[in-house]
């Protein structure tokens, strides 16, 4: 199969799908003899992305694969197509989501400890229903509280390929020397450095 035909099929599939398509999913469209190599597929995707220059849409890679999306600068016009305004999220919800994203796996009590205030069940339910977070396990302490983590859909929704692409957390300003020595280790949470690097893969840092 010639390169142009492969490219046409990949473009058409990405536009026909209602969610991002992974490399594997794209390769699966081609029966064995005509299946392109992963390298070729990647090259085709890069060419398709370039071909979007100057157009109204762009080809973007997110956590679960590739998708065509309307360019951000056109949102003011294209948004008029939809009657519903995009939802605005409260600070409480965004802070809760941020804690789950950067500190996962994390319990509700741990979120409350950082925020200094109770987290409403409504917020947790909203995040679960949006499928931005999920229960990834239970903490082995009394009551076995749920541990929350973020999902692929969360990354997809925010246009991220991995947690490593989250905006870096602000640096902690060094506390006064006498206080520094006295800082208690963060209870409940694992050592931030290790954990975060494990999550985001080589080369990616969250700080």
């Amino acid at each position: 199969m010639d390169r142009e035909q492969l490219k046409r099929i990949v473009e058409a599939a990405l536009l026909a799908a209602d969610r991002p398509l992974s490399l594997d999913r794209l390769l699966g469209l081609f029966p064995e003899p005509e299946r392109p190599s992963r390298e070729l597929l990647r090259a085709l995707l890069a060419e398709l992305a370039e071909a979007c220059a100057g157009r109204g849409v762009e080809l973007k890679e997110v956590a679960s694969g590739w998708r065509y999306q309307v360019r951000r600068e056109l949102a003011p016009w294209v948004g008029r197509l939809f009657e519903e305004r995009p939802p605005r999220y409260s600070r409480a919800l965004l802070e809760t989501l941020a804690l789950i994203a950067y500190r996962q796996p994390i319990t509700r009590a741990e979120i409350e400890e950082v925020r200094g205030v109770a987290v409403s069940s409504h917020i947790i339910r909203t995040l679960l229903e949006r499928e931005w977070i999920r229960v990834v396990g239970h903490k082995e302490v009394p009551g076995r509280p749920a541990l929350y983590g973020t999902t692929r859909q969360f990354l997809d929704h925010f246009g991220l390929r991995s947690l490593g692409e989250l905006p870096p957390l602000a640096e902690l300003v060094d506390p006064p020397p006498e206080a520094a020595g006295a800082l208690p280790p963060e209870e409940g949470s694992k050592a931030p450095e290790d954990g975060e690097e494990k999550r985001s893969g080589p080369g990616a840092t969250l700080h």
Partner: protein
Amino acid sequence: MSGGTGRPAVGAAPRQGVTGEAALGAGGPTAVPPETAAPVEPIAVVRGEPLLEPPKDLYIPPDALEVILEAFEGPLDLLLYLIRRQNLDILDIPIAEITRQYIAYIEMMRGLRLELAADYLVMAAVLAEIKSRMLLPRPAPEEGEEEDPRAELVRRLQEYERFRRAAEALDALPRMERDHFPARAEPPEAGPPPLPRATLRELLLALQEVMRRAAQRARHHVTLEPLSVRERMSEILAVLAPGRFVPFQALFRPEEGRLGAVVTFLALLELVRESLAEVVQREPFGPIYLTAPRGAPEEADGPGAA
């Protein structure tokens, strides 16, 4: 680091207004002794709420009133607001001053009958405790191990602020349905689209759920005949048609044995009871026929009626 720099130890000698007001630029009256910052009386009613005069030495920008009313995400948020408003060093908080302001805000919020989460009061207690510890004579810093009473609070404030900013950064990320929209083209019409499938398990769970709901409503008791009877009722109905008389015996299948006969008979009784079938007998001891009541569909002779 900033800890050891020019600022005198806070708390040892509370000097009201020094850092706070200078940064605030509130021109108003000063020198209210810290301990008398509250209580205050309502001076006006705004949107149905009594408005209190803010403490004299506490500048509340008009637009901040809304902020106070609605947008604090908890005591740490409020504390950060107080600190940042006055460009104070978070690592060297003038604890007495901040405590006083914090409590003044709390009093005001209570005065406005805002429902205060208990967390706010806990923080007030924490602040008071730190303040009292700061007043104690501090041992000579020989080891460098000595703990600043504010250290834990500073840590929490910094930690919270990091995530407050992270939340803002998250909100600023371009996201779907607000900044981007998925681009889709009409899929090709390649034959009929695949029909959804369902599993028996799904079916059973659905039934269980609906029965559970029905039981909760409890208005009627859902009685469920043995399945085989209901099924046989369907089968018999499928053979019946108005004007068509089916011999009673024809409805029974010898190969099903006694049990089958009982099921068929129960099905017939139920059909008759529900006026779905009529029993016809033209003469005493004559053959019994079944037929559908007038007006029943005539095409009921479906493939399922085996």
